[in-house]
Amino acid sequence: MVRVATLTPTPLLRMSPTQTAGAVTLARPCWGQFLETPRVSGKKEGAACGQSPEDRAKTVAEMKLILQTLGFPWHFVALEEVFGLSPSVLRCSAQEPVGAVGTYKVAVDSFLQQQHTLGTERAGGSPSPAQGEEWLSPPGTQESQDPAGPPPAAQTEALSRLFGSVKTLTAKEEFLHTLRTHLILHVARTHGYSKVMTGDSCTRLAIKLMTSLALGRGAFLAWDTGFSDERHGDVVVVRPMRDHTLKEVAFYNRLFAVPSVFTPAIDTKAPEKASVHRLMEGFLLRLQAQFPSTVSTVYRTSEKLVKAPRDGCAAGPRCLLCMCTLDVDAADSATAFGAQTSGFSQTQPPTPRAGAGAPTEAGGAQDRCRGAGPCGREDSRAQVIEQLCYGCRANMKDVPSLDLLPPYILAEAQLRSQRASQEIQEYLVENGAEEMQTAESRAWGHQESGARIA
């Protein structure tokens, strides 16, 4: 028997009808055999969307009503809590103890305790329903069943500042998605859930597929839009509604009077050209009106994708944010060149480089300090960027200051680069170290210094 957390209904407006429909389906007897005590978690993202506290409280009250009728246990989590997460969230499955980071909250310890006592899904164990009831008042401080108190104002402000500083709506949406994933992961791990279900419908997934393609995440499409997403190790994200189009979901909700809550999302009322997500959504839905098979065609293509990394690439380092295997190898990557040449003209004279370079982590700190500007900040920014996949790097370009990121991300970046620098010590001290740096690191260094000159 599997313990499952279902995500419903999130304030991201278009998600809620689907996810409520999903949850209602779960409540029906036919699912009872497969699922034990599914739980439902709602998320409050009001701060990121700029909602006032009264609006947020109202939304939460509405959601509470719906969740109570479902009959499942539920949690509420505020997005601000990302500021209290521990770096263990970013790891595939916490194997080594995180005792070194003693400043983190009790929830981390309780999480570790639960890890040891519960066992993961692989161990086949899962507490019986009677014991499951105890989890309704969990030991950790992160979740609040009754969101009587709003999250601390400092965290809300930090969140608003973070989202305010991101330059483009595209990057905001991507970032929101990332943070949300991490938070859900944390909730799932804290309560010992092995699966998380999301209510993505066929239409949504087709849009997500095209958007990910446009954002440079072609390597990870199978994880982002497939049925199951196991990149986090112990927690698996499944998408049971992926065969149903939005229209079907709407009909279902209407016929079975499924209640849903509308909350403004981060891109509500934004003009269509504001972000890649909006553009793609508008484009696909318009094309669908003209060629009715568009969405299903795109969806079928997604079924043909496999989760293998490109042939030859072994399991390499993982991206800091999206936890997919990094897809920025320097050798014979056409786009690595493309990124490089945007800063190419500054190097005199342009000598043809073979393109083969040391692994991505070999980008040292020296290159960064060459340009003007405070060395320390460039260093830590470069550190974080090195550990990101292509798509996440492109998003980070729109985040001017990494200091506003939640501390767990920065801490994990630090940890990883310390580990990595030990491996590449030999490269860093050689004379030709600069020549061995990857196109990527050079491009980033040059792009940043290029922006200052132009």
């Binding site: 095209m210 446009a214 390597a219 043909k304 293998a308 990124a339 043809p352 132009a454």
Partner: protein, 360 residues
């Protein structure tokens, strides 16, 4: 406000900002940088080994004009010799004017020019005739599908005529990005699997093809042509508005407004798509009719021409296409029954309207 200094030579006034990096450069430095980047692409990918005879597909448009010019500049360094090959599809009111531009270029640059015509190669089928034959179905005519396939064959024939060892075409980054979008929207997994990379190596007797301008953005190609004062033909093909690629092009324009690096991001995505082995095209063999490279019994060109001859132009378009005789299909399995009635994809030519046979 006076224009900033050129960021590269610091001597002249900047005349433009590069679209990708926003860097301000003067005309000469920009052209030098552009050429250096193309040189790098060719060298890094080892696309044109020294001593190669390179057939440049010249259409008279900006991409092939810029390509020919840049390669002509770089030819001494690369140690290759160039031949211009132009294809005459027989589109009245468009191709004749474009060919005139190609002839002028050949004269100016003193490069040998060979013109191959559809009418000669494909038994009298010009694009206008194809368009007339495929018209009247209510949906888009799909004549661009024909043109694309036949043109590649024609280019190959022309290259062989002049004794070339490599073929180059002027596709730029935007073209590649549009292709990726288009293939995804049409669900063309075979092409997606084949796509990416800097060009085909040329298996089984086909000449190796590459696209040296693959990483240059379209805007930069136009800027280069402007600064070098190149003479090219800039009209759109008569049939272009009906092509499905127009949708992809429109989408790409929108994406570039939201995110300037969209074209490169798409190319990056395409390079790293991991398709299931079942979705990949079978290893190529030889066409049973003409001996050219083919994944099935008949190569696509022969299959399309076959359809035209029989008066069933959409025979070879759509899923399960290529080499379908009455015996049955040797192509990929038909789409799963859970998807009833949906056409294989826009402009891949759903046969609903006129054709009685269901070629899936």
């Amino acid at each position: 406000m006076p224009a900033p200094q050129c960021a590269s030579c610091h001597a002249a006034r900047a005349a433009l900002r590069r679209p990708r990096s926003g860097q301000a450069l003067c005309g000469a430095c920009f052209c030098a940088a552009f050429e250096a980047e193309v040189l790098h692409t060719v060298l890094a990918g080892r696309l044109l080994p020294p001593g190669a005879v390179v057939a440049v597909g010249a259409s008279g448009g900006k991409d092939s004009t810029v390509l020919a010019h840049v390669l002509r500049e770089l030819a001494p360094r690369l140690g290759v010799s160039l031949r211009l090959v132009a294809v005459d599809e027989g589109i009245g009111g468009y191709r004749d004017a474009a060919l005139a531009a190609v002839r002028r270029q050949a004269a100016r640059w003193d490069l040998p020019l060979t013109v191959v015509a559809y009418a000669d190669l494909f038994g009298g089928w010009t694009m206008d005739a194809v368009a007339r034959s495929t018209a009247g179905s209510g949906r888009s005519r799909a004549c661009c599908t024909f043109c694309g396939v036949l043109r590649r064959r024609a280019l190959e024939e022309g290259a062989r005529l002049v004794g070339a060892t490599h073929i180059v075409t002027g596709h730029n980054a935007d073209d590649m990005a549009e292709t990726v979008l288009m293939n995804f929207l049409r669900g063309d997994a075979g092409r997606l699997a084949r796509g990416g990379g800097l060009g085909s190596r040329g298996e089984g007797g086909a000449l190796p093809r590459c696209r040296p301008l693959q990483l240059a953005s379209q805007k930069e190609v136009v800027l280069y042509a402007h600064f070098r004062r190149l003479d090219y033909f800039s009209e759109e093909c008569v049939y272009a508005p009906e092509a499905f690629r127009g949708h992809a092009r429109h989408l790409l324009k929108l994406l570039e407004a939201a995110r300037p690096s969209a074209a490169l991001d798409l190319v990056h995505s395409a390079e790293r798509l991991a398709l299931a082995p079942a979705a990949r095209p079978p290893p190529p063999g030889a066409c049973s009719r003409c001996g050219a490279l083919a994944s099935r019994a008949l190569c696509q060109a022969c299959a399309l021409l076959d359809g035209l001859q029989r008066g069933r132009p959409r025979l070879a378009i759509g899923k399960g296409r290529g080499g379908r005789d009455e015996e049955g299909s040797s192509g990929p399995p038909p789409p799963p029954p859970s998807d009833p009635g949906s056409a294989p994809g826009p402009a891949a030519g759903g046969c609903g309207a006129t054709c009685k046979e269901r070629c899936e």
